[in-house]
Symmetry: C2
Amino acid sequence: MKDKDFLMIPGPTPVPESVLLAMAKHPMGHRSSEFSKVVRRVEEGLKWVFQTKYDVQIYTSSGTGAMESAISNLVNAGDKVLSLIIGNFGARWAKIAAMRGADVQKLEVPYGKAINPDELKKILDADTKKEIKVVTLTHNETSTGVTNPVKELAKIIREHGAISVVDGITSIGAIDCKMDEWGIDVLISGSQKGFMIPPGLAFLVANDRAWELHKQCKYPSFYFNWDDYKKNLDKDTTPWTPAVNLFIALDKALEMMREEGLENIFARHKNNAMLLRKGIKDMGLKLFVEDESIASYAITSVLPPEGINVPDIRKTLKEDYNIVVANGQNDLKDKIFRMGTLGFVTERDVLTALASLKATIDKLKK
Amino acid sequence: MKDKDFLMIPGPTPVPESVLLAMAKHPMGHRSSEFSKVVRRVEEGLKWVFQTKYDVQIYTSSGTGAMESAISNLVNAGDKVLSLIIGNFGARWAKIAAMRGADVQKLEVPYGKAINPDELKKILDADTKKEIKVVTLTHNETSTGVTNPVKELAKIIREHGAISVVDGITSIGAIDCKMDEWGIDVLISGSQKGFMIPPGLAFLVANDRAWELHKQCKYPSFYFNWDDYKKNLDKDTTPWTPAVNLFIALDKALEMMREEGLENIFARHKNNAMLLRKGIKDMGLKLFVEDESIASYAITSVLPPEGINVPDIRKTLKEDYNIVVANGQNDLKDKIFRMGTLGFVTERDVLTALASLKATIDKLKK
């Protein structure tokens, strides 16, 4: 049956109907006073979600665009960057920095684990000359379903003096992340995750310390240039033509988020993930991330049962039960499947997914 | 009255209802086989519109993103770039190249004029050491309403040996531009113009000669990296999460464009622009670009009549007649207003705009 698929991948995520309909209106001119009001309202809403007093730059791009923005506005060729890697998205930071000509040092742990704050501290303590300018890390690692202890890590980075650059693409609006209180210097996210709208917008917040380092940047990106964004944001507009309809969608989605309240949103994500984890264990399947203290509230990775393979599970779930889950990435391809509980997902959806997964496994066991 | 505005700005442009409704569907997973089919179909449609056999890279960004892609994949710091400037968008190429550290030479003509091919030839002939690697130019200059003789200019650039990089943001899908036949090396465009969909996607085509130069590029952009786009396009996908709903919208819009046919689309734009120009002259107003041989078929710039100012014309047109036209930019602000006939615009719309403009002027004259 067509048009019945329910996305439980880590993005794009399900989009509320009211958001889809808001998006389907004729575009408005992006230099109009009406649109400036939308920009202002969306900006205030994003600050609230990011828990920050700093400006939120809104890019028309995917989350990777915001990653490039961070690196290309902070890092010169030859600069030393430390990348904390717990999965593919942590590795992406290192790739972007390397492509920029940075001297990249990596702290890598086995996939399925989080960064140990003590290990980070050891590395930064050894950097007595303070050569490391930037430390990149991932809040919620989408490829494994692990959440890093960002609060602790950001504190250690602050004590060293480097700038912390955090990928919050699948955490912001889903998992608590107090940017200002925790002292995160640069935080980015994307629209098709906790924000419940389709892909196409990405967000970046930089605090005063990050702006200081930015001043030393020789060849920043033009499209993602912080100064241009700042100058235009002060006039409630964007330097380039934005994805107008996605702004309208975001305006509506933020209104829904305000109604629910941040604490309730975080609690819902936690409850849904915990319910999913319990149900998966109850049906005898194994979780890729067993340690509940680092398990993501946004993405749950599951190992297939003995004798049944991941492609068959994904195929049956999709074809017979209209539920789309993600495969593992790279080395984890066909070894795990990943279920998102990110954004517009309720307890009913989790129960539905569990029932469908159970039926899928039973069918494939025959 | 709300929801009645008709956009006659140079983008975003009016969007067909069938496209808006296609866009309002729940997003599909971007790594699904269904979406790969969309990517393949859209890719073939774009090649047809660009009149090229080369791959079309589809970015989630505004047109400026595609501009940065071109420069950042071709130009190293210190490289010599020649920028042909007939307006703000031509100047943008020079800014991007300068921000990249290029040594930028400019051929600038008064706004309202086009580049004279002989002048370009003189400059390139003088470059006997072939130091100029890249020549940037604008096909249709949105800020003035002038169309450059791209066919002639591209030929001269080819004879010199430099790479021609052409902004076709407001020309492709509206004004004939035979990329391969004319020997254009890099051609870019954006979604919210001739393609009749909302802003958020940008396109870039590079031919073999451009790919050769790209190989010498030391620090290409990561987000706009040509190699990653090529590798993924070969598998009918994109390197990063694309604006899925805009792809669906584009798929629908390209279907409509195929039904109309390229020649008919170009003829419609020409007829509409000529009808608009005639009507404007008939009511005693002056055109900013009097020379019909370089007047744009996509954007018409108009001078306000003696004693009436541009802001009043724009305000009355919008508030009393629900028609949105653009102001001039920078030095031309409040000196001209610009009317777009770009994309989903018919003869009826032009007649409506002329009647409304006449009524506006009459009202303001009282």
